[in-house]
């Protein structure tokens, strides 16, 4: 019970702090790829150029990330099942 309360407090803290920061400092939640790497590159006169296959257009990037996440999740889940369930059952059957 105490553990659950601690978990709820942590989740509320993280969610609350995100909202707080966004309001207090006008956070844009940009990635450090953009806010550090590209910032210094631009200052040095070498701004990034568009990738060869530019999926960063409208909602296309969201779709690609969703597809990548779903495919990665499926592959990971497939091998997880193979390693942690099927092989365990085979080992049990052998014993």
């Amino acid at each position: 019970m105490i553990r659950n309360i601690h978990l709820i407090i942590i989740v509320l803290f993280i969610a609350g702090s995100c909202v707080f920061t966004a309001r207090a400092i006008g956070a844009e939640w940009s990635g450090v790829d953009e806010s550090v790497v590209e910032k210094y590159a631009e200052e040095a006169g070498r701004p990034p150029r568009d990738p060869y296959i530019n999926t960063d257009q409208g909602d296309l990037l969201l779709f690609v990330f969703l597809l990548g996440g779903a495919t990665g999740g499926f592959v990971g889940g497939y091998y997880f099942r193979m390693l942690f369930h099927e092989n365990k059952e085979i080992a049990k059957a052998k014993n």
Binding site: F13, D33, K39, Y40, P48, Y52
Partner: protein
Amino acid sequence: MTKTSIRVTAALFAFLMLYGAPAGAMHISEGILPAKWAGLWFILSAPFLFMGLRELKIRSARSPHYKALVGLVGAAVFIISCMPIPVPVVGSCSHPCGTGLAAIIIGPWVTVVVASVALLLQALFMAHGGLSTLGADLFSMGVAGAFVGYGVFKLGKRIGVPVFGAAFLAGVTSDWATYAITSLELSTALGTSSSWLNMFIAILIAFMPTQIPLGILEGFLAGGAYKFIASRRPELLKPFNENAFVGDVK
């Protein structure tokens, strides 16, 4: 709810109220590095990739579960390294790398192979990183992240740190090493011979507010995942605890 919980929560909120400075991943985008520097990082990464492919072939032939384990870890590295996580105190997002965790599970050499596949897919289809900067991104995330994490894990175990603690330290240091090498790659390529050190320090400091908490998060991820595998299927980890390097497996 205990009084201590309330006090801790109040203290954390108070910290947030006082700490409000805005701050600005290891992915270096297409076109940022001049050709000679991009080429250099390709040349430096290539031997690690070659040795990793050789190691993958040897271990796959000797252990029937190894390819499945590499598939699982590869999927995890791909997802982890393109998953932006908001860092509340600084108002920006970054991603963990996952290569420290991968290195302590499948070994550092094969982690370079796994990282190269993840980074290639991200550069090709996800506008993350770039093809010309693939060598540099692979060196920072694949080579530095994997070998630093693995080295710290082995050192931790040798001096008697519990498994969770050693894996935690591997996750933390691999993340920080990745971003330190990214800072080095950027500063050497973009700075002048007299200014690169100042630029290196400036970039490293710019990464810190986001990467210090994220590195700690990655440490917990590595510690938890390693402990989970060690408790459920310890035999999967055995060969890599005893023999890490190419051709070591007897």
